[in-house]
């Protein structure tokens, strides 16, 4: 500690101008930035108004209620050519969500398998996993989608010679034919039973966790949970007399009758995106597991845990902390990449709305704003959830 006291300088020296004052400079700079942005925005609005007037393009969101007049090859909700653009938007959005959900599911499974495979002691497994990651990661996703669509699926045999899996699922160049579930009377009760089972499993899970933390006794959660989830709906099914049945596809003439046809565009897009994203997820998984220091494994072994227990109770929970943030990022990437659907004509949000609808109405500003808005909302929501999660699992340090 020194006794020297620094006196604050009183006032500015006369020679220094006020434009050398950091505060003035900062306010000035921000003002200039703001003015520039406002000017740019104003210019855009003016130009857009002139251009729209000159090209006689309607404005506003009224077009959403107009008849779309085009068909869509895959619709999850009832849709016909007489439906509105608003309806077409919903159909496209649902198709995007379908690809995203199925793709994420597949990508996670493949990604974890390959990621663990890259750390395997088995040379052959390691070689295959590494090759998978390096090849898939270094080819453009659109290339892979086109490859699956043009080179793999179009090369499939015609429906008459289609590849059959147990006589239930058929793969041909018309896509994938699977049995169609039919929901008879009493389906509601089964669904309620399933919901109740799910709730019960969650509650038991909480209780089991609490008990383990208090007493240290573990509860066989996996088996009990699975049992409840299978048995309760099964009981409901028996009680209502099996309301859910499947309509099996049958070959009639040159095509299939009955069953549910999954269009080849969907298969190509989903498989390509899932395998592509899986390569990135595999790398996240690998780095996550490697981030858990070896001391943790050694300590667990010295406590007498078996290999599988060490992995399940010590390594993976810690690895998940590292894996999950980039994993959600990959999920988001997959969802955004599903917009590549437009390259092969799968009717996703971009193809239906920013493609066909835009061409028909010409209302580029509204349509592209809505499309971008959907993706923006999605990514902002994801990052909110991620931040909340990160806060929850962040290491509490002393």
């Amino acid at each position: 500690m020194s006794d020297l006291v620094l006196e604050p300088v009183q006032g500015r020296s006369k020679s220094a101008s006020f434009i050398n004052d950091p505060n003035v400079r900062s306010i000035g700079l921000q003002l200039i930035a703001l003015i520039l942005v406002v000017l740019l925005g104003w210019m855009f609005v003016e130009n857009a108004r002139d251009n729209l007037a000159a090209q006689k393009i309607a404005t506003g969101f009224g077009f959403l209620d107009n008849t779309a007049g085009f068909g869509i090859s895959q619709t999850l909700i009832p849709y016909s050519e007489t439906s509105t653009y608003g309806r077409a938007f919903v159909v496209g959005l649902l198709n995007t969500i379908l690809v995203a959900v199925v793709g994420i599911f597949l990508a996670t499974i493949i990604g974890f398998l390959v990621g663990i495979g890259r750390l395997s002691k088995n040379f052959v497994v390691r070689l295959i996993s590494t090759t998978y990651v390096e090849v898939l990661r270094n080819l453009p996703p659109l290339f892979q989608i086109l490859f699956w669509y043009l080179a793999v699926l179009s090369a499939m045999p015609s429906p008459r010679q289609s590849i059959s899996i147990f006589g239930e699922v058929f793969i041909s160049n018309r896509g994938l034919i699977i049995p169609r579930p039919l929901f008879g009377e009493g389906t509601g009760l089964v669904l309620w039973a399933f919901g109740a089972a799910l709730l019960a499993v969650i509650l038991i899970g909480y209780w089991a966790r609490g008990r383990q933390e208090e007493t240290g006794r573990r509860f066989p959660m996996l088996w009990v949970g699975l049992g409840i989830l299978v048995l309760v709906p099964l009981a409901a099914m028996i009680f209502t007399g099996f309301p859910i049945t499947f309509e099996r596809p049958e070959l009639k003439g040159f095509n299939f009758a009955g069953g549910l046809r999954v269009i080849p565009e969907f298969v190509a897009l989903t498989v390509a995106l899932a395998t592509y994203t899986a390569a990135f997820i595999a790398e996240n998984v690998r780095s996550g597991i490697m981030a858990v220091s070896h001391g943790q494994t050694e300590a667990a072994h010295s406590l007498g845990l078996r290999n599988s227990q060490t992995l399940r109770l010590v390594v993976i929970p810690q690895a998940m902390r590292v894996i999950i943030p980039p994993l959600t990022n990959q999920y988001l990437n997959l969802t955004k990449n599903s917009s590549l659907a437009v390259g092969i004509g799968y009717p996703d949000l971009v193809a239906v709305f920013a493609g066909t609808s835009l061409n028909q109405t010409g209302q580029a500003i509204e349509i592209i704003a809505i499309t971008m808005g959907v993706y923006l909302v999605l990514s902002i929501l994801t990052s909110f959830v991620m931040n909340a999660y990160n806060k929850r699992i962040a290491l509490v340090e002393r």
Binding site: S26, N47, S120, N122, V124, V125, F143, L150
Partner: protein, 458 residues
């Protein structure tokens, strides 16, 4: 040697040479026992894996080399039942895949651009070679200008800068063109420059700042911009080639390189803006970055193709490729900003404080202390974002710009080469090209990462 005592006690005095380990535990067999067949599940995995390899690799090699057709003039050559890859197809389409529909007698121009790019890029990538600053300046500033002139032909038609819009100058100068340069425009430019320089200098001087310095830097900006434009304006006698005629790998590389060259300065500005103390600047940067990062590139390209023309003044109808380039540049700038921000955050606070203690201004601190360190630190990140940009260039085929993949897809429809193997040949060739580019870059980024990792913790 050993000692034997009278009572029969036997003591060895030397160690016996160790026996070799059991043959099953060393060498190839030992390695296989330990790695491949250590347990039943492991053995199953090994066998399944080997089966997978056998299923994929030999047919692939057969297709690409052994059964491949190497010569031929049209589809007849590739129609055989056992035909493998139809390489004559690639040979016939090679020009299109590389240059698109660039006029054949002008193809030396893209060749020169490719060669110059390679000559400038290689020394930039080798970390130990000298003259990095000059090299980077040449590659990031001079090269794009030269490439632009070579590829388009330059000689853009300039009419008016500011005053001539009101028709004030041609009455004085008349319409005089020298080597494709419109003198009226340049008189207009110089006049505008002088007025603006005087105005800025005067205002800054009036409110007590260093008017001379402000005027000088404004003049430099006008001078540099003038040099740039005059290079585009001069008629070098190169025929004009529309961007619609460009295609193939040329377009892929043009988009990727433009994206990276434009996104670096923009990304640096945005990253600095995001870390700025000024709330308005920070907010604008955050909104810009998060907006572009939140939407897929396809929608950005749709935006650039359909929406951007509506925002520009009537009559200005920017070129299709240029519009896509603007979209790609803005998109990649947002990603680049986040990469560079990572580098800025990794610089210890002591560096900032040290720079400030030396009395450096903010721009000196950034230019001389912080950015050189931060940018070196994020070279792997920059290369990685270049890889994803390179892969993303394929998307332009959706807004009907024929890049490498688009050109390939177009070539599938040629009836002269329609054969069962055409499709697979094309995909094999394109796959190898894309893989070589991306894999090469990712190896380079790994190499740099290792070189820059000067810590010895591992």
């Amino acid at each position: 040697m050993s000692l034997t005592f009278d009572d029969g006690t036997f003591i060895r005095t030397e160690m016996v040479a160790p026996m070799p380990p059991p043959r099953r535990q060393v060498g190839v067999i030992g390695w296989m026992r330990e790695n491949l067949f250590s347990s039943i599940p492991n053995t199953i995995l090994t066998l399944v894996g080997l089966g997978l390899v056998l299923l994929i690799v030999p047919p692939l090699i057969r297709f690409m080399f052994i059964d491949a057709i190497w010569t031929g003039q049209n589809r007849e050559a590739c129609l055989g039942p056992e035909a493998g890859a139809c390489w004559p197809f690639i040979k016939a389409k090679f020009g299109q895949l590389i240059y698109g529909f660039y006029p054949i007698d002008q193809r030396w121009r893209p060749d020169v651009v490719f060669a110059t790019g390679a000559i400038l890029l290689v020394p930039l990538l080798v970390l130990s070679w000298p003259f990095k600053r000059l090299n980077a300046f040449l590659f990031f500033v001079i090269y794009p200008i030269v490439a632009f002139i070579l590829l388009t032909g330059g000689n853009i038609n300039l009419q008016a800068f500011l005053f001539e819009h009101f028709g004030l100058l041609h009455s004085v100068f008349g319409h005089v063109h020298v080597a494709g340069v419109n003198l009226v425009f340049w008189a207009d430019y110089v006049l505008t420059a002088l007025i603006v320089v005087a105005a800025i200098g005067g205002v800054i001087g009036l409110i007590g700042g260093d008017g001379r310095a402000a005027a000088r830097s404004t003049m430099w900006v006008f001078f540099a911009f003038g040099l740039l434009v005059v290079a585009w304006d001069i008629d070098f006698g190169l025929p004009y080639v529309e961007t619609r005629q460009w295609g193939g790998l040329l377009v892929t590389l043009v988009i990727a390189v433009t994206g990276i060259v434009a996104s670096l300065p923009l990304g640096i500005l945005l990253a600095l803006g995001r870390r700025s103390q000024m709330p308005v600047v920070r907010l604008l940067s955050v909104v810009f970055i998060e907006f572009w990062r939140g939407v897929p590139l396809i929608t950005v390209l749709f935006f650039a193709t359909y929406m951007l023309p509506l925002f520009l003044p009537q009559g200005s109808n920017p070129d299709g490729l240029l519009r896509a380039l603007v979209g790609v540049a803005l998109f990649s700038a947002a990603y680049m900003a986040e990469v560079i921000r990572g580098g800025l955050q990794a610089i210890p606070k002591g560096q900032y404080e040290g720079a400030m203690a030396m009395g450096l201004t903010w721009s000196q601190m950034m230019r001389l202390i912080i950015l050189p360190q931060a940018l070196t630190l994020v070279i792997p990140g920059i290369v990685n974002s270049f890889i994803s940009l390179f892969k993303d260039t394929t998307l332009v085929l959706i807004v009907s710009i024929f890049d490498f993949l688009g050109q390939l897809r177009a070539s599938f429809t040629d009836p002269n080469w329609a054969s069962p193997v055409t499709l697979y040949t094309g995909f094999a060739f394109a796959g190898v090209v894309y893989f070589l580019f991306c894999f090469g870059m990712s190896r380079y980024s790994l190499f740099v990462e290792r070189r820059l990792n000067t810590s010895h913790r591992h």
